[in-house]
Symmetry: C2
């Protein structure tokens, strides 16, 4: 169960825009460089973010993209849903009720786990904003491999 590069790159791009917030538009090329995303691909990914009004675009020379709202006002969950669709580790617990089409749903004994999983994912995504991510303190050191000291 992986989130695709759409979600990964989408969030990275939005973080780049958040860091640049208040300093005018940022071009695809710049965003791509800063966030390490292939520029041609990024162009495709940023379109849905614009349609969802999470970013605003400015065309022509000196154009680019800006965050439509302040970083504190943008939940990661919003970005996630635009890029990946409704949170749904399994169709039967999709945020989009129309996707809950499994015929076994009403007496399925496994569904409660998936439901709890979905809720916990939603909680993480919706309780974090772009501002939280660009705050210096949030960086978490990686778990280190077992030390093989002398």
């Amino acid at each position: 169960m992986k989130v695709s590069t759409r979600g990964e790159y989408g969030v990275r791009a939005m973080v780049a825009l958040a860091r640049h917030y208040g300093e005018g538009p940022m071009s695809i090329t710049d965003i791509a460089r800063v966030s390490s995303v292939p520029p041609a691909y990024l162009e495709q990914l940023i379109a849905p973010l614009r349609r969802a009004s999470l970013v605003q675009s400015k065309r022509g020379a000196r154009g680019g993209y800006i965050l439509a709202r302040a970083p504190e006002q943008v939940r990661i969950g919003e970005i996630y849903r635009v890029m990946e669709g409704p949170v749904a580790p399994m169709d039967c617990v999709s945020e989009n009720l129309a996707d809950q089409t499994c015929p076994l749903i009403d007496n399925c004994e496994t569904r409660p786990v998936w439901l709890k999983m979905r809720d916990s994912i939603v909680d993480v995504l919706d309780s974090t904003t772009l501002a939280d991510l660009i705050a210096p303190s949030t960086k978490v050191p990686r778990e280190l491999p077992v030390s093989r000291t002398a």
Copy 2:
């Protein structure tokens, strides 16, 4: 981000075995019928569960599978990992440290969210056992669609 049918079917099959616990071996055909999984596919899925010692097999006539431990002793997380691999909504936060190969990992600003997401998923999976799922009280009613009353 979806868990595949491997995880879905694997957990369903284990629940079937849990309900049948203490009543002798259950054949693939029976498990498949009870849990609504294509029998030929189930045969493939149950093999890794046996290799991981989550189930035991008995060959020959009257053979089949039994749970290797009591339902209270089997965490859903164990089943999940056998079927789906390490919990890893993104490689950079995989439970398998060897998968954390992203070169950006050390000063990535987005990683904290994915890490929190992984931890919350792990918590759900490892705090639930097969016994929890077959207890009658755990069934959760589905959210109802918006009523379109007369």
